[in-house]
Each structure stands twice: as structure tokens, then as C-alpha cells.
Assembly symmetry: C2
Homo-oligomer: 112 residues x 2
DNA sequence: GGAACACTTAGCCTTATGGCACAGTATTCG
DNA sequence: CGAATACTGTGCCATAAGGCTAAGTGTTCC
């Protein structure tokens, strides 16, 4: 659970920044070099690189360097942890809803 | 888009903290008072209140005060923005996959 | 009324975050 | 070889985040 939570934490922290979400969106269209990505954002390259590093260290993207160009690729699978978390939430809600429904049913039976 | 992004930003920022995610999970089981929630976390009440406020200001929970007790309720609908964002990502990926498939198909046709 | 309770407000502190400029390294091109 | 390119590394800065203590405020209970 602690480990799971740590993974989740990194992914959510990575997604908390609009620049980084935009990079993920952008990479959804296909692999792109750091330079090409950076040109779309109003910030310097070193600043942008920090975001790239955050995304990579949290497993949301993968990068490779060929010559002097570093190319970023989206790691789609990683976003599954968000899906899983949402699914778990829903499971909890539904359990509760079921309990409440049973409660109502039991009360009705008691009234008969 | 800017407005949408701002909403999204708040929700992801709120979810980036493990304490806050835990509160959401906890509230999935039903409404709970601030005090009852706080007792489950290794931090002081004022510190914990900040998290409650963050969650409320970003629309993830709703609170009401009755007497001296403030009760927190989960706002399930709010998490839909995360769902929507994930769905949009998938849409982008699928568009790309479709394009790649067409490309392969066209090449095969050209070879004939 | 007074004590206990459940927050709430205020102010402080430390660390993390996100930005910058500037200098350096490694490739590529003419 | 030398210039341009594409990062990369370093160090600095301002603000925000997340924690604390201490001192309120308003309710409830005896």
C-alpha cells in the first residue's frame, strides 16, 4: 500500500502541473524532441527540461537521445494507475450504496 | 479551454497530496466530521484543516457546520473531470493509431 | 456560569516548486 | 576547423506548500 501510494503520488504530482499535462497531450500525437516541445511553451529550455525530467522520473514518458536530440515518447500504460485509483473510489462508493440499500430494505421488512 | 484547464488544475493539485487522497477515500464510506477525520492522520488539526479547505475550494468535497461540528461530504461528480481528461487522452491516442493504420494500409495498396 | 469540546485564526518556519540566467558539452553542418 | 545547434549543468531567486504552536471563537454539557 505504501509502495502503491508512492507510485500514485508521483503520477498525480506530475499531472498537477498544466505544462506537464500539456506535454502528455502533445505526446499523444506521437514522439517529439525536447526542442520541438519546448518551443511551444513560454519558458526557457532549462525550465522546460525540469518538467520533462519530472515526467520521466514518474514514468509517464520515456526519452532517448540520438546524436544531440532527445526524443520523448508517451508511456500510456502509466496513466492506468489513475484509472485504477478512480475505479477503487467507485468500488468504495458502490459498497456504501449497497449497504444503504440493504438498510432501507431491512427497515421495510421490519415494518411489515 | 483556459477555464477548463483551471478546473482541471485545481483537481489534480488537490489529488497530488496523499493525505487529501486518503480523505477522499475515507469519505467514500460516508460523511464524516473534521475531527473524526483528523484523528486518523498524524498531524495537528490546523494542518489538517488546510487539506480540508483545499479539497473544498477545488470542489472535491462539500462541508456544512452544525453546532460546533463541521461535517465533510464527498462530491463524487467532481472526479469526473479526471475521467474526462483520461478519456480525451485516449481519444488522441486512438486518432493517432487510426492514422498509422491508414498509413500502413495505403502503403500496402501502393505496393500492389 | 464554567469547563470541555470542536474547530478557527494568526503567525512562523522549512522545504519544495517552478522559474531564470549563464556557462558548458557534445553533435552536426559548411 | 569553426559555427551553429541541442541540449545539460549549475546556481540563484521568489513563491507556494505543508507543517507547527499558541491563542481565539462559538457550542454543548454539568
Amino acid at each position: 500500500m505504501a509502495q502503491y501510494s508512492a507510485q500514485l503520488d508521483g503520477v498525480f504530482v506530475a499531472l498537477a502541473d498544466p505544462t506537464r499535462r500539456w506535454v502528455i497531450r502533445r505526446l499523444g500525437h506521437g514522439p517529439t524532441s525536447v526542442g520541438d516541445l519546448a518551443r511551444e511553451f513560454p519558458m526557457t529550455l532549462p525550465s522546460f527540461m525540469k518538467h520533462v525530467q519530472t515526467l520521466e522520473s514518474n514514468g509517464l514518458i520515456h526519452t532517448t537521445k540520438s546524436g544531440r536530440v532527445r526524443t520523448c515518447v508517451l508511456n500510456r500504460e502509466r496513466l492506468a494507475v489513475v484509472d485504477d485509483w478512480l475505479a477503487e473510489q467507485r468500488r468504495i462508493w458502490e459498497e456504501r450504496t449497497d449497504r444503504l440499500e440493504r438498510l432501507v430494505t431491512d427497515e421495510q421488512e421490519n415494518q411489515q
